[in-house]
């Protein structure tokens, strides 16, 4: 038994050595925290977020004459862990800002933002509350929120003849977000709504829910399903059951490009409203093209929606630090309120007296490309939907009072 114990201990020590890779710390660097998903089924999203920030960091170069050091932390896609890790970034690593969080992490951080006292810029959070009734002076957002996406849905219907006169059905996960999407679809004028269903969060077999959409005679199925494995499973099974032949699949937000690549041909059954970014925007904006090329050079794949968005958030932060002339948090927040920056998703600035970036949205179907580009064979044909249309009111009118 003693032998077994020492052997197991030895193995354990060995495994520690194998996996350990402590980060080298540069003393005079500007430190930026990246708090995102590093394990589990949603990791590809975290990978894109991280890759986008890395690319933007390299493209921007030194900030205030110092190199930028990214301190990467795992959020475990768990709100409570995210709070601990954000605290670690601030207290132990003394970062000047935090990037990379998604909705549930951002919501959790909102509660402790005043305790943390550094700017947090999220580029992957849908929940409207983050920059509306729950807005906080430390928390900024560069991607469009859910209600903005909902407005873009009307535009998508207007642009897509097949969607006019369709019978709409909402098939989603049991999230508040999904119910909001359902409500906003119902709110579109002259639209026939035939029903909805909300599946438990750990659904892997979508057959019962697909059967419901079918029984309702749906010809347009809007799918507020978690991006990642669940959405892949759902689309695959919808295709398996032949639902894709009867109905158009409408995504209320854009699909990440790694997901499109996995779907391959099946992705052409999907049309998306409210994409936060689209790499094919490069056809009308050279900033996007420059970024795409740099991204491809660094990571060898196409820059997905999360990568473009997180890069934009990083660029906003670096420009604000430069403008403030210091990484002191109060000064950076002040600078963020006023800057305007050309980013891979277009020119960005934050809503006056608010924390939501005035950001365009992208609409359109996924299609096969004539010639593969950046390793991608499928991509969204993107039409830009301007920020002015999606966020027509002021921050105060949306319930955000920073006081």
């Amino acid at each position: 038994m003693r032998l077994l114990q020492s052997a197991l201990f030895g193995l354990f020590a060995l495994s520690l050595c194998l996996f350990a890779n402590g980060p080298a710390v540069a003393q005079d660097a500007v430190k930026i925290g990246v708090l995102t998903i590093r394990s589990g089924p949603a990791k590809p999203i975290g990978d894109d977020i991280l890759a986008g920030i890395e690319t933007a960091t390299q493209m921007y170069g030194p900030v205030l004459g110092s190199p930028v050091e990214l301190v990467i932390e795992e959020s475990l896609f768990n709100p409570q862990q995210a709070v601990t890790k954000a605290t670690k970034l601030v207290q132990q690593n003394q970062v000047s800002g935090i990037l990379g969080t998604s909705t549930i992490e951002t919501l959790a951080l909102l509660s402790v933002a005043d305790r943390l006292g550094v700017p947090i810029i999220t580029s992957n959070s849908g929940s409207a509350a983050i920059t509306r009734e729950r807005c906080n002076r430390w928390v900024f957002r560069t991607n469009a929120e859910d209600l903005m996406s909902a407005l873009s849905l009307q535009e998508l219907v207007r642009l897509t003849p097949e969607l006019q006169g369709a019978k709409w059905f909402t098939l989603g996960h049991d999230y508040p977000w999904s119910r909001l999407v359902a409500e906003s679809v119902k709110g579109v004028e002259n639209l026939e709504y035939v029903g909805d269903t909300f599946a438990p969060l750990d659904t892997t077999d979508w057959a019962p829910f697909i059967a419901q959409a079918r029984a309702a005679g749906a010809t347009a199925v809007i799918m507020p399903v978690t991006l990642g494995t669940p959405l892949l499973q759902f689309i695959q099974q919808a295709n398996e059951f032949g639902l894709t032949n009867e109905a158009m699949l409408v995504s209320p937000i854009g699909l990440p490009d790694w997901l499109v690549a996995k779907l391959g041909e099946t992705s052409t059954h999907v049309v998306s409203a409210g994409s936060w970014a689209a790499w094919r925007y490069e056809e009308s904006d050279s900033t996007t093209r420059d970024f795409n090329e740099a991204f491809f050079e660094m990571h060898g794949r196409v820059a997905g929606m999360q990568a473009l968005q997180s890069a934009s958030a990083a660029l906003m932060l670096y420009n604000a630090i430069t403008k403030a002339g210091s990484a002191e948090p109060e000064a950076v927040v002040g600078a963020l309120e006023t800057i305007e920056v050309n980013t891979p998703v277009g020119p960005l600035m934050f809503q006056p007296d608010g924390r939501q970036a005035l950001v365009p949205l992208f609409l359109g179907p996924y299609e096969a490309l004539d010639t593969p580009r950046y390793g991608a064979s499928f991509g969204q044909r993107a039409t830009a939907f301007p920020a002015s249309k999606s966020l027509p009111k002021t921050a105060a009118e949306y319930g955000c009072n920073l006081g």
């Binding site: 038994m1 394990s39 795992e74 709100p79 862990q81 601990t84 605290t87 959790a108 508040p176 969060l201």
Partner: protein
């Protein structure tokens, strides 16, 4: 006495140069310690292995968080409210689940925790669904706000010490021995006149009530909670902490919880495949050290001072 000394030592840590983040992690560890001790009452002393103990902790968090946000942030009133809710639920659930033991108990408790999880997802008016209960303010004591950091840490240390003293008395009382008798053999316990079901029920309620205290502190530390706190994987985590520390020792789970928090923090920062390392450590402990860290410490202690054993 030992408890007072240890608590005193813990309490001076922030004033002798411990890093702020060490204090943050330690706060989390000590809150988990309360939770793990409450599980030890159930698993270590009564022999009821549960895969649903997150329900008690998460329910405490939700009740306290909701009350603090909507009614008052006074720590004592909030704690009282949370305890009333947790105990009421524990009385009801406990009455039913303590009819069984062994694997049936483990699975039923898991099922019930999953039902609570679903309620947290679906009862959106109170829980805000999957987005979670956010924006819970800091607690007040006698009208003074307890700030995050050192103050919240000290509150946790004091609470932990109180829970330790209470549970220590409990396990050394006739009732505590009764529970141990039930753990060893339910039939034999019944044959010495112990009402097995009643005692299991009481143990269940006490365990939940203590876990509710931990949940209350946690919702203040994290300023909110989400349905994930009720998920069965969290129940697995607390089981890991308790067994890792050493079942049936009370001080073992405290060590287990603190090491769990620090190890998890290190592992998740350092390794992308942290689950591999984590699972490995757990398997090694269960296989080679059934008495947990507490057992290892006791063994080392005895080998250093052989006379004292």
């Amino acid at each position: 006495m030992t408890i007072a000394v240890v608590a005193g030592l813990l309490a001076i840590l922030p004033f002798v140069g411990a890093a702020p983040f060490t204090i943050t992690l330690l706060t989390e560890g000590l809150i988990f310690a309360i939770w793990a001790m409450s599980l030890d009452i159930l698993v270590g002393y009564t022999g009821l292995v549960t895969f649903g103990h997150a329900a008690a902790f998460g329910l405490g968090s939700y009740a306290a968080g909701f009350f603090a946000r909507e009614v008052t942030t006074d720590f004592f009133v909030t704690l009282l409210f949370a305890e009333v809710v947790v105990i009421a639920v524990a009385v009801t659930i406990g009455f039913v689940v303590t009819r069984v033991s062994g694997i049936a108990f483990a699975i039923i408790s898991l099922c019930i925790a999953q039902v609570l999880f679903q309620i947290a997802v679906a009862w959106r008016d109170v829980t805000e669904g999957m987005d979670g209960l956010v924006g819970v303010p800091l607690p007040k004591m006698f009208g003074v706000t307890i700030n995050a950091g050192t103050e919240l840490y000290l509150l946790t240390v004091v609470t932990l010490a109180a829970v330790c003293i209470g549970l220590r008395r409990l396990v050394e009382s006739p009732f505590g021995r009764t529970l141990q008798a039930i753990r060893t053999n339910e039939d034999r316990a019944a044959a010495v006149g112990i009402n097995v079901r009643l005692n299991k029920w009481l143990a269940f309620i006490i365990s939940w009530a203590v876990a509710g205290v931990g949940g209350t502190l946690m919702v203040f530390l994290k300023a909110g909670t989400t349905p994930m706190s009720l998920h069965w994987t969290e129940s697995g985590n607390v089981l890991v902490m308790t067994i890792f520390g050493g079942l049936g020792t009370l001080f073992g789970p405290v060590i287990g919880a603190i090491s769990f928090v620090f190890l998890r923090d290190e592992f998740t920062t350092r390794f992308e495949a942290w689950q591999l390392a984590f699972g490995f450590v757990f398997v090694v402990v269960v296989l080679a050290f059934p008495t947990g860290l507490a057992g290892i410490i006791a063994r080392v202690w005895r080998s250093l001072w052989p006379v004292r054993s």
